[in-house]
């Protein structure tokens, strides 16, 4: 059940466990699993020092299919368990795999806190805008009007934006990608793994059974170029067929607008450049969605800060630096004592 000790570098296959993968045929999770195995191989991650933690849901089966350490826990609580793991052993490389129900409904509180604390781990949110494992109810990211077994006349409540939530929670790394984007996705995952602190990655994932093509307006080959913008730090925000469009601030406002580049129109120099350290820009990018604006993909925000676990261990080290040992007698006899003579 363990990693075959290949003589050479580990390959993507070495990160697969011997378990038969049991997602529905055509599920977007297969592509994400492949991208993660590729990323781990690219980074030559040590399987024995890597832990995947999950909650409940289709996505939460993920740890069973990897050859690393894995802990499939309870609904919504994976961030809290992962925090405990990372605090106990900061040497471990900890990944949390979650879905939109797990992370933003039952576990919303823990996601908020793991991000604001900046625990050094990767949080992957597979967003398919539906409850899969419980057979198709609408989720907190479902668009209004979603018809599901629990909302036969269409859902009423406004959805939460995963990336905007993460930014609001104070995450220092926020990225977004799509299950089938097999070149950009591993790159985003690599960046997430490299970033010290909590790295939040929203992965748009197709649920072929209960919510097929919910991201068709973004991912369909026919519209993808116009509906996606792949942001790159320091580069102008351009997209579209032949990179013919760009984003800029509508003059006099704090709103983005699409402009067509080329003769008679504005040049690239007038466009916004992506600055991944800018939280206001990240907020604007996170909020974009078709049809008016393209969906922003890539690393929307990355502005590292000291990790919580790192600081906890610094405090521990400082407390130990007084040179005193862990002598229990010092603790127990340390207060006001008196002797009863024999």
């Amino acid at each position: 059940m363990n990693v075959p000790s290949s003589p050479g570098p580990l390959t993507a296959k070495d990160y697969a466990s011997d378990q038969e993968v049991r997602w529905c045929p055509g599920c977007g999770d297969y592509a994400i699993l492949k991208a993660i195995q590729r990323t781990l191989a690219e980074l030559q991650a040590e399987p024995d020092k890597t832990v995947f933690v999950s909650g409940i849901g289709c996505a939460a089966r993920f740890p069973y299919y990897l050859s690393t350490y894995g802990f499939h826990t309870i609904h919504g609580r994976a961030p809290a368990i992962a925090t405990g793991i990372k605090l106990a052993n900061p040497e471990l490389d900890v990944w949390v795999v979650s879905g939109d129900g797990d992370a933003l409904s039952i576990g919303g509180n823990h996601l908020l806190h793991v991000l604001r604390r900046n625990v050094d781990l990767q949080f992957l949110l597979f967003n398919n805008e539906i409850y899969g494992l419980t057979k198709g109810q609408y989720s907190p990211t479902s668009r209004p009007g979603t018809r599901s077994p629990s909302t036969p006349q269409g859902s009423l409540d406004a959805p939460v934006s995963a990336a905007a939530f993460a930014l609001g929670a104070g995450a220092r790394f926020v990225a977004r990608s799509v299950d089938t984007l097999q070149k950009p996705l591993p790159e985003v995952l690599r960046r997430a793994r490299t970033h010290r602190g909590a790295s939040f990655v929203e992965i748009l994932q197709n649920c072929i059974v209960y919510n097929d093509q919910v991201f068709g307006d973004i991912t369909d080959r026919a519209v993808a170029e116009e509906a996606q913008i792949h942001v790159v730090h320091g580069q102008p925000l351009v997209f579209g067929k032949d990179r013919g469009k760009g984003l800029r601030l509508r003059p006099g406002t704090l709103e983005l607008e699409v402009v067509t580049l080329g003769p008679g129109g504005p040049g690239e120099i007038e466009l916004l450049r992506h600055d991944e350290t800018s939280r206001p820009l990240a907020a604007l990018l996170a909020a974009m969605a078709p049809p008016d604006l393209p969906m922003a993909l890539g690393v929307l925000y990355c502005d590292p800060a000291p990790s919580y676990d790192g600081q906890v261990w610094e405090q521990m080290a400082a407390a130990r630096s007084n040179g005193r040992d862990r002598d229990l007698d010092r603790l127990l006899r340390g207060g006001h004592t008196w002797t009863v003579p024999g």
Partner: protein
């Protein structure tokens, strides 16, 4: 009876008591807890055995002068072993009308009431709901009353130290403390030194307090007080030799966890969320980072237990702590720890419920929750501490069982134990047994759910260990391999194994002993937790009168000690006093089909010795 009993009236100005109960009561801002803790220190130094109980309002700053803002500190001290904070008061110090009103019912007939008459004004009387002044209207005729204008006398004493009137009045409690020191012949030196240390940066405050202390003491010496109020002697108790300190249950629980983790060779990861009355454990441990103690204040109760589970999974001793409502929130995660078979210690400082109930009042009504309170068949270990001093050993035992058997262990404390204090003979930790945790390192043939044939514990394979990468979780796992399994026969076996593992721990426990009395007879009083003191004293009082009654007190509640059924079977009647509607009694009846009967009380206050004596007498009469 515990409480006071005059041994002799040797001479008119020097009465000797076997024990005495004193309560200081005032506004929550009047420094009653400080006064009480100083009196406790001086009393311990005088060689008495003692027990204390702090009773403070749930409101942080309740409106001054109101009955719900009254804070009190009670101490029972004596020339013999003291096991409870006392049934009824010999002395009440009332700093205002509300404090008198709230505590009046607890004073014994003929008890002494010391009241600060200067604080009994029209306004404060009205606030406390008095129509007439009880110090003047004769309503205290059943007691001996000493009304003194403590406020004025205090201001007089501190006037030379340049403190404001407000600061001066804040020394009232210390003036009263000085009077009590005189009354019981206590030495002032330790308190003087304490003020000098505490207010080193503000010497005028230290000096004012010391002056108030001395003035109260001098008042006792010089005022010609009625003979029956004059100085009382409570001789030193016979106390086992050793080094002592005064502790609350929350202190000893925290230190026991540190010791338990050390004995297991593990780092302690204490993950908690603030809740009354358990928060103090977190506060104590947060200061012990140099002992390798990691504390984590989680975002909620669920995150706290989950972080503790994560820490245990990663090789620390994960501990979480709460009170009943918080434990309820942790329930699902406890099921995960049962399923994943990870060590975990869960502390429940029980309080009166249901729901928010009475957060600062004690109860022991979470036994069902501890033993049964999870979905499915999810057995775990349940221990209960009997007193502040007992918490240390119980916490060590919890760590031992958790790491030896790879199981969650619930420790039941309660609001009384958490904040009551008593002298604790500091144990010789070098002599306590070690139980080093064993991490699996052998990759060849490793199976995450292959059990030790004796303990039935699975191996602890910590992430980071080369060659042992594996997956676990809350889905049912195949025996040995731990792979996900929906196999029917496997689920039956795993359910049975989980139960057998916990049940088998009974073989690793000491035989249940009898605290007092014979191992068989007409009546056994069986208790658990903080009822220890009143049960022990009640049984011991009645045995001293020649009655045949035994006291059995349980530390291990799940599993129950192996010999308990046989032991209880030797008694004609079994009485189970509990601060709930009858939870242990149900457990005993169902485990042993015994005709055990309950004695139940849920007032938010501990049993009185007299209540238990009365119940025993009724049972014994019925037996004859």
């Amino acid at each position: 009876m515990e409480g006071s009993a005059a041994l002799e009236g040797a001479n008119s100005s020097n009465r000797t008591l076997e024990s005495a109960v004193v309560r200081f009561a005032g506004d929550s801002g009047d420094g009653m807890q400080l006064t009480g803790s100083q009196f406790t220190l001086a009393t311990a130094l005088a060689g008495n055995d003692l027990a204390t109980f702090a009773d403070f309002p749930a409101e942080i700053r309740a409106p001054a002068g109101t009955t719900f803002g009254v804070s009190a500190f009670q101490i029972n001290f004596g020339a013999r072993e003291i096991l409870t904070s006392g049934d009824a008061l010999d002395v009440l110090v009332a700093m205002n009308p509300a404090a008198l009103k709230v505590n009046l019912a607890d004073i014994k007939d003929g008890g002494l009431v010391i009241a600060d008459a200067g604080a009994f004004t029209d306004k404060t009387l009205r606030k406390a709901g008095y129509d007439t002044d009880p110090l003047e209207d004769g309503s205290l005729a059943a007691f001996r009353l000493l009304k003194l204008d403590v406020s004025r006398l205090t201001l007089e004493a501190v006037k030379d130290f340049g403190v404001s009137k407000k600061e001066g009045l804040r020394c009232r409690n210390i003036w009263a403390l000085g009077l009590l020191y005189w009354m019981f012949g206590r030495k002032r030196q330790a308190t003087v030194e304490w003020f000098e240390r505490k207010f080193a940066a503000r010497p005028e405050i230290a000096m004012a307090n010391i002056a108030a202390l001395n003035a109260g003491h001098a008042f006792g010496e010089t005022a010609e007080l009625p003979a029956e109020i004059a100085s009382l002697v409570v001789p030193p108790a016979e106390i086992a030799p050793g080094l002592y300190r005064n502790v609350t249950g929350n202190d000893t629980l925290a230190w026991g966890l540190v010791a338990g983790a050390q004995f297991a060779g593990l780092n302690l990861a204490f993950c908690s969320y603030p809740i009354t009355p358990a928060s103090q454990v977190l506060h104590v441990l947060a200061k012990l980072k140099d002992y390798g103690v990691l504390t984590f204040q989680a975002e909620d109760e669920i995150a706290a237990v989950c972080a503790a589970i994560g820490a245990s999974y990663a090789g620390s001793l994960g501990v979480t702590s709460s009170s009943g409502p918080g434990i309820a929130l942790k329930t699902e995660a406890l099921g995960l720890a049962v399923a994943a078979e990870l060590p975990l210690v869960v502390i429940n400082s029980q309080r009166a419920g249901p729901s928010t109930g009475m957060p600062t009042k004690t109860e022991q009504s979470d036994l069902y929750q501890a033993v049964f309170g999870r979905n499915a068949d999810s057995p775990l270990v349940v221990l209960a501490a009997r007193s502040p001093a007992d918490c240390f050993e119980v916490a060590v035992e919890a760590a031992r069982l958790a790491v030896t058997y790879m199981t969650p262990v619930m420790v039941l404390s309660d609001g009384y134990i958490a904040s009551a204090s008593e002298p604790w003979k500091i144990p010789d930790v070098d002599a306590m047994p070690r139980f080093p945790a064993r991490f699996e390192t052998e990759a060849a043939g490793f199976q995450p759910f292959r059990r030790d044939p004796v303990t039935l514990a699975r191996p602890w394979a910590v992430p980071g260990t080369p060659g042992l990468a594996h997956r676990i979780g809350g889905l049912e796992r195949a025996e040995d391999s731990g792979e996900v399994s929906y196999d029917a026969a496997n689920h039956q076996r795993m359910t049975d194994l989980r139960a057998a593992k916990i049940a088998g721990i009974a073989n690793d426990l000491p035989e249940q002993a009898v605290e007092l009395g014979e191992p068989s007879g007409p009546l056994a009083v069986v208790g658990w937790g903080s009822t220890y003191g009143p049960i022990y004293r009640a049984v011991s009082n009645l045995r001293a009168r020649g009655l045949e009654v035994a006291h059995i007190h349980l530390r291990h509640l799940s599993p129950l000690p192996g010999n308990l059924g046989e032991l209880l079977g030797g008694f004609e009647r079994i009485l189970v006093p509990e601060m709930n509607r009858g939870q242990l009694v149900t457990l005993l009846r169902s485990a042993y089909l015994l005709p055990a009967e309950g004695l139940n009380k849920v007032t938010g206050k501990p049993f009185k010795i007299a209540e238990i004596e009365q119940a025993i007498l009724e049972r014994l009469e019925a037996t004859q």
